[in-house]
Each structure stands twice: as C-alpha cells, then as structure tokens.
C-alpha cells in the first residue's frame, strides 16, 4: 500500500521503528501527485527537490520528524512563494517563516508544497483563486469547499498527508466536510497568526487538515502556544492533545442548537448528523436541545466585521514595496488604482468596498459598531450554552459539495455556505469537522463538534471516540 494512504500517526510510528524512511513517504506522495494532481489541482507550488532533501535531513526524534506537510498559500515560509492565490502577490517570496511554519519545522516536518485557496481566503469554494479552481476528489465536477479547498482536496485525495489551512468563517471546517477529512479551527489565540497573511484579524486562525482526529491532535500539539510576536495569542503554554485517548463519551453533555436544524435543510445531511447524535446518546452522552438565538444575525455580523478588518488588512497591497506593480504609473494615485484594479479579483474587491463602506463616516455607527455589539451577544449565546453543555453538535455545512460554477454569479448565496461555521469564529471558540456519512452519490457529509474557548482536549476526545467507532474516515475517494 502506498505510504501516501496512511496517517501521520502510523507513519511516525514506522519512522521511529526505522521501518521506513521519510524519503519513501515523499516519493510515494509525489507518485500520487503525478497521477491525480492534474485533475484535482490542489497545489499552487510543489518543490520536489527541496522536499526530498529535507526528508533526507529530517530529525526523526522530533514529534513530526520526517512527515511531509502541505501549506496553504497564505502562510509565509522563508524563501518560498506566498501568493494567497492572488495576482497581486505573483512573484512574491516570503522573507521569513510564519510562527506556525517555524514550529512545524522545529517539530521536524518536511514541506512538500503550497495549496490553492480562495484569493486572500475570501470564499467558500476555492473558485475565487486567480490560479485556477481546485476540484473535489470525490466528484471532479464539484467544489472542494473553501477557502482552504486546496488543503482539504489534497488530504482527501491522498496527495498530501496533512496540510495547514486557515479558518476565518469556516474555511478549514467547511472544505474538510465537503472533502471528507478532518478540519480543526482552534480557539482564537491558541495558534499564532504571525506570518499568516491577514484577512480578518479578530477571526482568523491557523489550523490542521488531516485524515484523522489523532493526526489533528498531533499537529495541534506542535502548533499551539503563546507567541510573543502575536499580541492576541493566549498566555497559556502549549499542551499535548489527545495524549491519552479515552474512546468514551459517557457522561458528556452534548447540545444540539435548534437553529442549526432548520426545516428544508438538506435531508441527507440532517439524517447523517442526527444519526451521529444518536450514536453519542447510545454511548452514554446526554443529548439536549439548546438555543443560540442570535444565529440568524451571524452572517450579517460576519460580513460587516470581517470585511471592515479586511479593508484595512489589504490596504498594504499597493505596488509600492512588494508584489505586483502596475506598469508605467503616471502618479501615485494611478499606481494605487491600477495595481489594485489589476491585482485583485472581483470577490476581494467586493469585500474591500463593503468593508470600507461599513467603516465610513456616517455609517460606522449603524453598521460596524452595531455589528460589534451583536458579536458580543453571539459570544454570550455560546457562553450560556456551554454552561449546560460540554460540546455542541451540528452539521458543518448546510449541504454537500455543489457544482463548480453553480454559485459564482450569486455571492450572497455563496455566503450562506458558512452559516453553521461562522458563529464559532465570531465567538472565538474551537470547532472541528469530521466525516459522519456519505450521500447516495458518495459525497461526504461533515459533522461539527464545537467546544468552549480552550476546550480542544474534550472536543478532540469526543471526536476521536466517534471517529474510531465508524469507518467513514477509511473511505477513499474514487481514485
């Protein structure tokens, strides 16, 4: 069996026993990439020689020693391209490592390639990439989800063992659900954002996409912890997650928020998620209905606050210091206008305009400040719910992967793809998506577990227990 089909944990055990070499893992992955990358197009850059060399030099005594990991193209890795799948950063080479990347490097990981994404992480389908679309490995006419679509498709398509993504409104969890792999968004402040190209500073988090919950915990253990370069990271030092799996959900109080099970939702999704809830109950967990009353406001709040922050975060892309610059500008204003007009895609422009508007004089109170207040209330919704529950259980996505091109003309409809993930970012708590079933047409369905702030351990334990009692994680796309 190709080493590319195994998990990080099992490969680490074999590497430690000197059964295999890191170079063999990379070589097997490259074989899979040669076979399927042309169809999937998960990667924006692949550096074979550097990966093989790093594999040979890997320190196998480290927690992730010798393990190849893919990076979403918005994470700075020293000396490598960092395009954020945007024309405005074509040719840009990162002059430093993001903290998350540095920590994986320190843990002995090997970097194989950079994955495709919606431009500047703005999107739910990876169709907003300036470097071409990525296809869902389960059905190449369908989207992989977004914005970490490349990372999810690579992991699911067995052309990456594990990958890093970023999640601002669901961009790790939703593509994980649509591609049938595991995607974790940690608590805000758990993993450093230093070196992650910012979309929305108060919402962004780096997180792993993996085949199993165990792999996810392994990566989280190396990534998490306070960073003096990121003022928003928590002072809690790193933890070792899932060190002792309990395989048990006995006594766990699991809440089902009623606003996440709405009439008219996709029937197969609802069925699979309710079946998961039943499993929890049968295995000793207490299922209760809870309410997150402000759920209907979440999308509006998100698209006001995230775009406001993005309008400032993306102002730096102006052709003055780095990246693409418009040719022969006649003055500074021309330089700015043409560089950004030519360099940004339509969705990015849409969000910058929206974000600028909600902050502008005369509107900022009605939009930006109002949204901040509602965000505070959404956070309180979650805090109240967690007073009576250990975890919340919901679908990750309202429906399985839709067809490429289906929503590109309707941005608002596209925004609704994040309805179940977005509140978790607004509240700053942790969430994980893992496979809980398949549709009749063999499309993955994702289950989301949500934990309170810094509640990753309990969440991972429950996810792991559920996952290992089912075979969903073993199923491979038709490749």
């Amino acid at each position: 069996m190709s080493l590319a089909h195994e998990t990080v944990a099992s490969l680490r055990r074999r590497l430690a026993k000197k059964e295999i070499k890191s170079r063999e893992i990379v070589t097997d992955l490259l074989k899979e990439i040669d076979a399927r990358e042309k169809t999937i197009h998960a990667y924006t850059h692949i550096d074979r020689e550097t990966a093989l060399k790093a594999a040979d030099e890997a320190d196998l005594s480290r927690p992730l020693g010798g393990v190849p990991i893919a990076l979403k193209d918005n994470l700075n890795a020293n000396g490598d391209p960092c395009t954020c799948s945007s024309k405005i950063l074509e040719g840009y080479k990162a002059p430093y490592d993001a903290t998350a990347v540095a920590r994986l490097r320190q843990a002995g990981a090997v970097f194989l390639g950079r994955t495709n994404m919606d431009e500047f992480a703005m999107g739910s389908s990876t169709e907003n990439s300036a470097l071409g679309v990525t296809r869902n490995p389960w059905d190449s006419s369908r989207i992989p989800g977004g914005s970490s679509g490349g990372s999810a498709a690579a992991v699911a398509g067995r052309i990456a063992l594990a990958a890093l993504g970023s999640d601002t409104g669901g961009s790790i969890r939703q593509p994980a659900a649509l591609c049938g792999c595991v995607g974790l968004k940690p608590t805000y402040g758990r993993i450093s954002r230093y070196g992650l190209v910012a979309f929305a500073s108060s919402l962004d988090q780096v997180g792993p996409l993996t085949r199993t919950v165990e792999d996810s915990a392994l990566l989280l253990s190396s990534l998490a912890g306070h960073d003096p370069r990121d003022n928003t990271t928590d002072s809690r030092s790193a933890e070792s997650f899932l060190a002792k799996p309990t395989h048990s959900v006995k006594g766990l109080k699991v809440g089902l928020p009623k606003e996440y099970f709405i009439p008219g939702m996709d029937a197969e999704t609802e069925q699979a998620v309710r079946a998961a809830a039943d499993w929890f109950q049968k295995n000793g967990a207490e299922i209760k209905e809870v309410s997150l009353p402000l759920t209907p406001s979440a999308i509006a709040v998100y698209y006001i606050l995230a775009t406001a922050e993005a309008s400032a975060n993306l102002a730096r892309f102006d052709g003055v210091r780095y990246g693409r610059r418009a040719a022969d500008p006649k003055d500074v204003l021309d330089l700015y206008q043409r560089t950004r007009e030519e360099g940004f895609g339509p969705e990015v422009k849409r969000r910058i305009i929206l974000g600028t508007f909600v902050l502008s004089a005369g509107y900022t109170d009605a939009y930006y400040r109002k949204a901040q207040k509602v965000r505070g209330l959404i956070r309180q919704d979650f805090e109240k719910a967690f007073q009576g529950c250990d975890l919340l259980l919901t679908p990750t996505s309202p429906e399985p992967a839709f067809k490429l091109g289906e929503r590109t003309q309707d941005p608002l409809k596209m925004y609704l793809a994040d309805v179940f993930t977005i509140s978790v970012n607004l509240a700053g708590t942790c969430g994980i998506s893992l496979p809980c079933g398949f549709t009749k047409s063999n499309l993955p369905i994702g289950l989301q577990l949500i934990g309170p702030r810094f509640g990753e351990e309990k969440m991972l334990q429950a996810a792991h227990a559920y996952e290992q009692s089912h075979d969903f994680w073993r199923r491979m796309p038709p490749i």
Partner: protein, 486 residues
C-alpha cells in the same frame, strides 16, 4: 505683534514628539536616527504580508510619564486604533494610533518666562505666565520618510514605526510669542523626564498649528486654518505672525476665510493653500484587533510614577528660594540638569550660594566646559566665593584665580598661594602706603580737597600699583578719605 487691538488670535497646537526608546513602537528594530536608509527595518515596520504589531512597553511608560509631568489623567484602559489612509510613506496604509481611548487626557503646560523670545520677556504676555490647557496625549507610530530626487522618489523606512506622542492643546494660545514659549517650555519638560530629545531639526518634534481670528470680545470662534510644514520653533512664530496678518487683512477687506490647510514656506515667508475641508480624509477609525487593550492600572502607571522628575518650574522655584539665584539663572540651570547638578554640588559647600552661581554661570560657562567631565571640581567655586567674601582676595584677584583655575585646575587656596595673591588688609601697612601715595601725588590731593571726588582714584591706583594689586580696595578708600579729611 499687532492685531490692531480689534482682533484676537486663537491658536491651538498639535505637537508630535518622538519618544526616546531602544526599539520601535511595534517591533524590535532599533529606534535610531541617521543611519543608512532601510537598515533598521523588518517585516513588521515594512508592512509585509502576515506581520503583526506588538506594543513597546517603554514607549507606553514614557507617555504615561509625560502625562504625569503635565498633570493629565491617565486612562486605566487605553486602546490602539487603526487610522486608515493611503500614502507612500505608510507601510500598511493605515497608521496604528489612538482615537477614542488615549493614554492621557487633560493636563497643562505653564509658559516659562525665559522660553519667550528675549525681546518679549519684559512684556505683559510673558510676565503673565499663563497655563496652556491640553486636550490629550496619545501614542502612535511614525511614518516613513520620503526623499524626492530629480526623476524618482525614495522612501526610507528607518523612521517608520518610531513611537510618536501626539500632544494636543486647547485653543488657549493667543500670540505667536506664546506659541514659541509653549514649545520651549514643553521641550524643557520632555528633557527633564528623559522622554525625548525633541530636536525639531531631526524631526523629533513636529508641530502643526490651528489658527483663527475673531473680533475682540466675541466668544464665537472664527474660521480655523491649519498650518503645516513648520520646521523650527522660530518658524512656528514667523508663520503665525504672517498668517494672523493675512487673516486680519482678509476680514478687514470684507472677505471671508476658507477652512483649509495651508503650507508654510519659510523661504517665501508666506502660507499657501494645501487642501480644503472637502478634500479632508475620512480615517474610518476602528480599534486595532491585533492589539490588546493596555491596562495602565496593573503596574505601568506605578512604574512611570517612580520616574517623575522635579519639573523645570519646581526646580526654578527651589533654586531661587533655597539658593538665592536670579530667575534667569534658575532658568539656565533647569535647562541643563548636569550643569545644575554641578552647581548644586558647589553651592552645598558654601553659604555664598548666589556668588557661586555668578562664578559658574557668568564666568565658567563662557569657557564652554563639560560639567560632567571637567577637572574643575565644583567645590573650587565654593572656595573661590568664600575667599572673596572673606576679603582674603579682592574681586580683581578673584578673576586672576579663576583664570588660573580653568587652565590648571587646583584648589583656589593653593592658587592664591602659588600666585602670591593674598590681599593686604593689615591697616598699618596700608596706612604707610597711603601716606606714600599722598606724598607722591600732591596735585591729586589738591584736586580732591578742591572738590573733585574722582581725584582720589589716582591715589588709589598708586597704592594698588605699589601693593601689586593686593591692597584691599575698600580699606584704602577709607584710609585715604580719613587722611585727606574728606
């Protein structure tokens, strides 16, 4: 400065002051002036994708210290906000500043008499010693510096990210002289606290001015004009003189003023329109989500409190009261803390504290010494002052001792011995010399007895010459007068 008596100028200042810290406001780059361009830069102060700011505690502490020195209220929780606008000297095209929750609010700066231009120090406006109220002090990051060459422009990011304090006054100033004095007084305080070198030529202190005029007696403010590109304290004064006259001229001719920003051109000696209100920026301020709120009540304010120095005004009062120096001398001493320390050491060693001040400030200072390293010990001046007061040497001899003191530093007692300068005060010896003088200058004696009082000077001169300058001039004056019966 003439306002015809009909008009009143209403002036407010916005002062930007670079804070002296080891590193920049939001990154670890050195906070240093004068090095080759773009040698103190990093992903953060260049605004590279993915970089994040982390606040500089020293800068926050020094801003709080400034607030304490100026009598401000220190906010228990302060926040950073993003001020959004595009410009090539802006690495992120937003500046991290403070909007709604600045570190300091209120406070005031007293106008130091000696910080007024010399020719105004006798005037009512200087003597009034007004207190100028502040609105707020906040902390932000400085922008990069642009250079314009023939065919290109360059940007040096060494300055980008330097911590900058913005000090905003109420519209309390009324004259260009007061604005001049305000900046000098503020600078003294900043120096006292070690907060900033505040050198306008190095861009460490920058000043924008808001100026309007109104008929005397009217409470309503007139149309406000903002002045920019003021590069020196005297430039501020020149610009205000010009602008006030311009505004009066417009109004008296029946015209109305436009609310605008005008650029001062020091060469042309005039202000020119830069931009009008309609073109003003909407900064779209919002709290910076990358930075946690700053809690000053968890040790930062306490730490700053321990560094509050004696303020220049307090120090001046103390020097006048306890040392008997003049107000002018007090101002010279407070402007130079090292010199003041030197003086206080000297003054501690003698009762003649005012005399010591004269020696140090009038005589010693003109030799341009470095009080920190000079081999002339401060105690020497105490000795010198004591010698003259006790009459052991006269003041002319004192000057000789001083000259030797600064050339070959040694204790004045030793110098007096070395130069053989002990003043002769023995009345017997002096009487003998006076007799000789009278005998040798019959003409002067006659003139004196005839009523020409100055004729005694020739006799005194004879005695001084005979005694090689060592005679006590007061005594020989008495003895001569007695003998001449005058």
């Amino acid at each position: 400065m003439s306002t015809n008596g009909k008009w009143e100028a209403v002036i407010g200042l916005e002062v930007h002051c670079q804070v002296r810290t080891a590193t920049k406001m939001f990154c670890g780059c050195a906070n240093q002036y004068g090095d080759a361009p773009n040698t103190h830069v990093c992903p953060v102060c260049l605004g590279l994708p993915g970089s994040l700011p982390v606040p500089n505690e020293e800068a926050i502490r020094k801003t709080i210290l400034t607030g304490l020195m100026l009598g401000c209220q220190i906010a228990p929780v302060a926040r950073f906000d993003r001020k959004n606008y595009f410009y090539p000297d802006m690495p992120k095209n937003y500046q991290i500043s403070q909007y709604e929750d600045p570190l300091c609010a209120g406070g005031s700066v007293g106008l130091d008499l000696f910080q007024f231009p010399k020719e105004l120090q006798e005037s009512d406006e200087a003597q009034a010693r007004r207190k100028i109220r502040l609105v707020r002090i906040h902390l932000e990051e400085d922008v990069a510096k642009s250079f314009h060459f023939e065919e290109r422009s360059g940007i040096d990011f060494n300055r980008a990210g330097t911590p900058l304090m913005e000090i905003v006054t109420e519209a309390d100033l009324r004259t260009p002289g007061e604005a001049f004095a305000f900046l000098g007084s503020l600078r003294q305080i900043l120096w006292a606290g070690g907060v900033s070198d505040a050198d306008m030529e190095k861009g460490q202190l920058r000043c924008d001015v808001n100026i309007s005029i109104r008929p005397v007696g009217e409470a309503k403010f007139g149309t406000k004009v903002e002045l920019k590109n003021l590069n020196s304290i005297s430039g501020v004064r020149r610009a205000l003189v010009y602008e006030i006259a311009r505004q009066i001229d417009v109004r008296e001719k029946g015209g109305s003023l436009v609310q605008e920003t005008r650029r001062w051109d020091d060469n042309a000696g005039a202000t020119f329109t830069m931009r009008t209100k309609e073109q003003a920026h909407d900064y779209r301020y919002f709290p910076d989500p990358d930075l946690l709120p700053v809690r000053t009540d968890r040790g930062l304010q306490a730490a700053a409190q321990t560094s509050v120095p004696e303020l220049p005004s307090e120090m001046q009062e103390r020097l006048i009261r306890d040392f008997g120096v003049t107000a002018y001398q007090a101002s010279v001493l407070t402007a130079d803390r090292v010199l003041c320390g030197y003086y206080e050491k000297a003054a501690a060693a003698t009762k003649n504290k005012a005399a010591v001040a004269n020696w140090i400030l009038n005589d010693f200072l003109s030799t341009q010494p470095d009080p920190a390293t000079t081999p002339v010990k401060p105690e020497y001046f105490a000795e010198l002052a004591d010698l003259v007061t006790a009459g052991k040497i006269n003041s002319a001899q004192g000057k000789k001792v001083f000259a030797e003191l600064v050339t070959n530093p040694a204790s004045p007692h030793e110098i007096v011995k070395k130069l053989g300068l002990e003043q002769i005060s023995d009345t017997g010896a002096l009487a003998t010399m006076c007799d000789e003088a009278i005998a040798a200058n019959p003409r002067s004696v006659e003139d004196y007895k005839a009523g020409k009082m100055n004729a005694i000077n020739a006799l005194k001169g004879f005695v001084m010459k005979k005694s090689q300058g060592k005679a006590n001039p007061v005594q020989i004056d008495e003895i001569l007068k007695q003998k001449l019966g005058g």
